[in-house]
Symmetry: C2
Subunit: 334 residues, 2 copies
């Protein structure tokens, strides 16, 4: 799959730069000089220096990243919810009953607030209607079409073009230094896997997320995996370390998040002995992105911000620490 | 962890040989010349030849292996059950009540048959008593001690020395040709991960198996993952393709098994378009290993043997196709 030539070029240019300058600070050109950048580079140099007391063998250089708000934006609504809403509209002709059934009727009238007034059960109904009742391969096709075409209402960019350029550089820099990078997100595992390799350079087997139950069946003589309308696992808060153990089976040495949903992943990662690194992306840039933290209904960052100080985790101030937020789409034209 | 110097040398010697002879048939010296070996080599050459219509990019070269009976022996009882029985004996002093409680009382009297007469619930009780109620890290320590010391009653070898030499060579040969090798086993995921990297060269994040539920807790100010006495997932039969989708998110192009528990994994792997490879290890060597198939209570191979013929899967006849079964422990002394 190719989402868009320009973005792919941007990501791979970053990978190349990091490969040829594995130890150079200019593998992170979108990071301003300052404590955040220094702390990342110092950590990587500590764990990769042969003979250093903090040296970590490559096979143990595991780094885990939250996705929404850490690798790409999450405002004004989680991008996967935007996908689900678009999907409700696309499926509406096949569901005339939705006209009189909440949360669908409000959604189809364009009243998102009323639709989500039903809280978690309403969101669950929307997710089931748009994420289940088809095979895994059919679902991947639907997501692929959406991610290649749907645009964000505020920026006009493809959603995949709202990955953070500094984080793309950081992923490439870590990999160039022998790290294995994983996504550990509350987002849907089968949703993210469609684009994670192209956008982040992270293959499907290194994407961990929330999931619905699957069922193996033989249909017309061919085996398929059917997505059932049942939750299997919600990958958030105290279940992020659980997911890490289930999927990776090794404790990360570095973890990156942006909200209280990432608190336990950061605790689990940084509490063990040896060199450990925790980082929180703090959304402080209302002009270039969004500014929110302790009061936000999306990406609430409160306890984790307090714990960052107590535990010595790096806090990225988006406004001060990043000179670029999103990939510069013009720069990368051939 | 080091289990035993000799075995490690054997495995890594195999890796090295395969790396320097990525396309050479002599990366598989323990395989006799014949159809089984030819089919493996021909498949690998087809999918790795640049410009071939069957060429598969490295990121999609996923190969999945069952463990018990495919990568190591499984007779006279699954090795993990042997671990559990040894563990019951070790824990008995702390459980005086077991003297009067089945299946423990029979076990402690040495009567395995009576202990297992209770069927699955009895096995479940043994597993819970020996696999839960501690942290993941504590459990890994217990398995580590056992795998480094316990010996098989018939061969007198460490259990890890009953990995099949031809399969160790095959794993290394595939990896030298850009494959990513995964275990997809009914065995316990946290059990296998303790030794899979050292014995098979397969890191924890590429080991998939059955699991119990985990719970994240803060104990004495430190985060831990506690193993609960509840089944989370049984990785067998129709749930093997489900596990592959959950953990890998990409359909394998090659799958290796030995029993009806692997049937659906082989179906799922080989039913898609493009070059696909399925292989079944048929236990036919009562002298050097064990001989069993359609009537066996362990490693039952019946339907999958019929389907192998219908679908063109390779069937390894252990007696005829392998000139060596277990690593030659003398050969590898320095």
């Amino acid at each position: 799959m190719k989402i868009k030539d320009g973005l792919v070029t941007a990501v791979f240019a970053g990978t190349l730069a990091a490969t040829t300058n594995a130890h150079a600070a200019d593998a992170l050109p979108s990071w301003n000089e300052g404590q955040a950048k220094q702390s990342v580079v110092a950590f990587v140099e500590r764990v990769t220096a042969q003979g250093s007391p903090d040296f970590v063998p490559e096979s143990e250089r595991i780094a885990t990243f939250d996705n929404d708000g850490t690798l790409w934006s999450e405002q004004p609504i989680y991008f996967q919810l935007a996908f689900a809403l678009d999907r409700v509209k696309a499926l509406a002709p096949q569901h005339p009953e939705w006209k009189d059934k909440e949360p669908f009727s409000s959604l189809l009238r364009g009243d998102l607030k009323a639709a989500l007034a039903g809280g978690k059960p309403a969101v669950f109904e929307i997710i089931v209607a748009t994420h289940a009742g088809m095979t895994s391969e059919e679902f991947a096709g639907v997501v692929h079409t959406w991610i290649a075409t749907a645009k964000h209402p505020k920026t006009g960019r493809l959603y995949s073009e709202m990955a953070y350029q500094p984080m793309l550089e950081l992923l490439a820099y870590l990999r160039a230094n022998g790290f294995k990078t994983f996504i550990v997100s509350g987002g849907g595992i089968e949703f993210m896997r469609v684009f994670a390799e192209e956008v982040y350079g992270i293959p499907p087997e290194q994407v961990i997320g929330s999931s619905g139950r699957l069922k193996f069946e033989i249909r017309d003589g061919k085996p398929v995996l059917v997505k059932l309308p049942e939750v299997d696992f919600i990958d958030n808060e105290a279940d992020k370390p659980v997911a890490i153990q289930k999927h990776i089976g090794r404790r990360p040495i570095a973890a990156f998040g942006n909200s209280d949903g990432d608190l336990q992943m950061l605790q689990w990662t940084t509490a063990a002995s040896g060199a450990r690194f925790g980082l929180i992306v703090h959304h402080t840039d209302a002009e270039r992105e969004w500014a929110y933290d302790r009061q936000s209904s999306i990406g609430l960052l409160d306890k984790a911000l307090d714990e960052a100080e107590a535990n010595g985790w790096t806090v990225v101030d988006m406004k001060d620490d990043w000179n670029t937020i999103f990939p510069n789409l013009h720069k990368v034209e051939p």
